[in-house]
Amino acid sequence: MIDSMGIDYAMIWAGLIAFAVLAYIILDGFDLGIGILFPFIKNKTDQETAMNSVAPIWDGNETWLVLGGGGLFAVFPLAYSVIMPALYMPIILMLLGLIFRGVAFEFHWRTKNSQDWWDRGFFLGSLVATLCQGIALGALVQGITVADRAYAGGWWDWLTPFSITTGIALVVGYVLLGATWLNMKTTDGLQKQSVQFAKIAAWLTLFFIGIISLWMIFIEQQYLHRWFDAPNVYYLMVVPVAVLFCGFKLLYGLHKSREVSPFLYAIALFVLSYIGLLISFYPNLVPPSISIWQAAAPDDSLKFLLVGASALLPIIIGYTSYAYWVFRGKVKANEAYH
């Protein structure tokens, strides 16, 4: 667990995987959100502008999902081999959704006659993928039955009122990210429409954050004690207060027609909710029974990959930022290579 140098590699990796998953949620969140908004955007040119605003970057965004999954396999193989069968159906459906969403970026431009079908695929793929991610998260929060290093629950354990609620909440949240992104990246009619979407999504997101936070307390004793036992309660209250502050700044920014700040405050809401989840989960990786250290691969494996990750992650963040920088500013219609 803690080696002779006093370094806890499992804990470092838990932090890195948590970072990768958060990066995924935020980055792919806004482009999945745009997929969900797609059919509600009024005219075709605006739809295509919305799609083009993420076309150069969606692939990079989705790579964080592969890092999350691949990373879990690499450093927490036990968690990976328990979570995947437990969440079998939502994960398969998510993958199928991501297939339709991903190819739509190309196929949309390759046909006129069946374009509507791929646009539907873009919308439904994004919606299903998001819903399934939210459901998977909810199912994880509820806890996974484990016996003898393997999943020991039933095939429908993941489907509960709570997980459905987290699924819907994530859809609303991704729509908020997508709408505030479009508000930042586009102009005129599309921008105005995005602000409308964002306002509705902002209220709903805050509503769902509240509901789910309260609901969680009743699901698992650990969550209740973590948040409300003294002295935790005094300093953990910072999180809900910060959520309220960001929610207020988000709505205020939208009201004042700010372009960048609503997107940043929407991200902040995601970061805070995520921190809230981590606080509830710790020290478990798979609630209620597998801890970070139980799930971890041997230190040798953790160290070997950590060397690469410490060298490569800064470079990755560097050139990813560069790619965003190249495509900075407002997106214009018909600007793509197609």
Partner: protein
């Protein structure tokens, strides 16, 4: 029995999803390298024909790459969903290798792909070339890591087994550079280059064939065809040598696989080479055989009377499916021989300045357009079916690797994958073929002031495309 059925379904699911998947990254490796070469030549010479060819294949590349990404994400989760016991046991060894693949390859490709596809007017020429180069490098790094993973499963090395029954690492170098890895890496990357070359050559031949009928000269199609035929002439023979070395390595580490490839049921000296036949594992004979005496021994031991281990040295319940391995191997080798023949033929015609004007070669090249892809898939069938019944060769059996899933759950997901893959990738291949059937815009070679020509040829390309799009059914 029910568990066995679930395992069989999971195997079919893996075979189905990976067979689709390997086609796309295989072509992405080749096309990314091809695009890098084209853009480099354009920057160096300024000749518009290179840019026109680059733009032609860039669109095709973007569809193929996209399909590779989405089918690849499925693969990265498939280990956990259907093969969770395998994941738990091999995670400490294979996980970090895949982690390196994500960090050093996937991010690199994805990060620079946007600039490569959409950034031509946003960054300078040099930076754009750099982006193309990085995408290409990413595809190769990805091949490096994933083939290391696969090779370790075939020829495990550098590991120990801990008290939880997991494979753990004793020596990382031995794990990564396990005995079959260098051969498999060389064989597969060369296969990717050849597959792409024959695809490009087939498309070039198709347009040359049509241009010939209309009595016009198409520089872009000539460039595609010429470059592809150079690859056939120079690289296909190299692949034969690599393949032979890879086979010898397999003979050393997985003799049962080689015995299945050769249809060699009995251990014998001076084993024959079967050109054709129906391996029959019931009677342990090759029926309807056409064979060359002693040739298999000669190829594998370099001695006509050399002794070859047959399947009789292995328990029958550990035999791979002999007919599949036997036939996949023959398909792969036959295509490889055909490629070499085409390469030699093209050299002869090139020397006589008839490369572009021999309708028979053009027709053969068109037929051979998908040959590399077929050979690649056949090759993977040889190596993957041939290492059964193991996932980690000799150590972990396939039946002991699967998730504790019920057959209906696996059957349902398998059905969903089949339907979605046929729709999505069927359509994707159709769109790719439609792009490949579009006539490349004829480019007029101008030495000075090439910029104007490039500009003009772009506009020609745009308008001709617009017309085709309107008429598209």
């Amino acid at each position: 029995m029910e568990l066995l059925d679930a395992v069989l379904l999971a195997r079919i699911q893996f075979a189905f999803t990976i067979t689709f998947h390997i086609i796309f990254p295989g072509l992405s490796i080749g096309l990314a390298a091809y695009l890098t070469v084209l853009e480099g030549l354009w920057l160096k010479t300024g000749k518009p024909v290179y840019l026109a060819t680059f733009k032609y294949w860039l669109k095709i590349f973007s569809i193929i790459f996209g399909m590779g990404v989405v089918s690849g994400v499925v693969m990265s989760y498939q280990f956990g969903t259907n093969w969770s016991v395998f994941s738990d046991k091999t995670g400490p060894v294979l996980g970090p290798l895949m982690g390196y693949e994500v960090l050093s390859a996937f991010f690199l490709e994805a990060g620079f792909l946007g600039v490569m596809l959409f950034g031509m007017n946003k960054v300078g020429k040099g930076l754009h070339f750099f982006a193309t180069l990085m995408v290409s490098l990413g595809t190769l790094m990805s091949a490096f890591w994933i083939l290391s993973v696969n090779s370790w499963m075939q020829t495990p090395a550098g590991y120990e087994i801990n008290e939880a029954g997991q494979f753990v690492v004793a020596n990382w170098f031995d794990v990564i550079f396990n005995p079959s890895f260098p051969y498999r890496l060389a064989h597969m990357t060369t296969a990717a280059f050849l597959s792409t070359a024959f695809l490009v050559g087939g498309v070039g031949a198709w347009h040359l064939y049509k241009a010939r009928k209309q009595g016009e000269r198409n520089e872009v199609a000539r460039l595609m065809f010429s470059m592809a035929m150079w690859m056939a002439a120079l690289v296909a023979p190299v692949q034969l040598v690599i393949g032979d070395l890879h086979g010898l390595n397999t003979l050393e580490h997985q003799p049962a696989k080689v015995a299945a490839m050769e249809g060699n049921y009995q251990t014998q000296k001076g084993a024959p080479l079967y050109l054709f036949g129906m391996p029959n594992s019931e009677t342990e004979t090759v029926d309807y055989a056409i064979k060359i005496p002693k040739a298999a021994s000669f190829i594998l031991t370099h001695d006509p009377d050399g002794k070859l281990v047959g399947l009789d040295q292995f328990p029958k319940d550990e035999w791979p499916n002999v007919p599949i391995v036997f036939w996949s191997f023959r398909i792969m080798v036959a295509i490889g021989m055909g490629m070499i023949a085409i390469g030699l033929w093209s050299l002869y015609l090139r020397a006589r300045k008839k490369l572009y004007d021999t309708p028979l070669l053009l027709r053969v090249a068109i037929v051979f357009a998908p040959s590399g892809i077929i050979a690649t898939v056949a090759g993977w069938f040889v190596t993957e079916v041939g290492r059964q019944p193991y996932t980690v060769y000799g150590l972990l059996k396939t039946v002991d690797s699967a998730s504790p899933l019920d057959a209906p759950a696996v059957a349902a997901s398998l059905l969903a994958f089949i339907i979605v893959y046929l729709i999505v990738f069927g359509t994707g291949v159709w769109y790719t073929m439609r792009l490949m059937s579009k006539r490349p815009s004829p480019v007029i070679e101008v030495d000075d002031d090439s910029q104007t020509t490039v500009f003009l040829s772009n506009r020609v390309a745009t308008t001709s495309e617009g017309k085709i799009k309107e008429g598209d059914q």
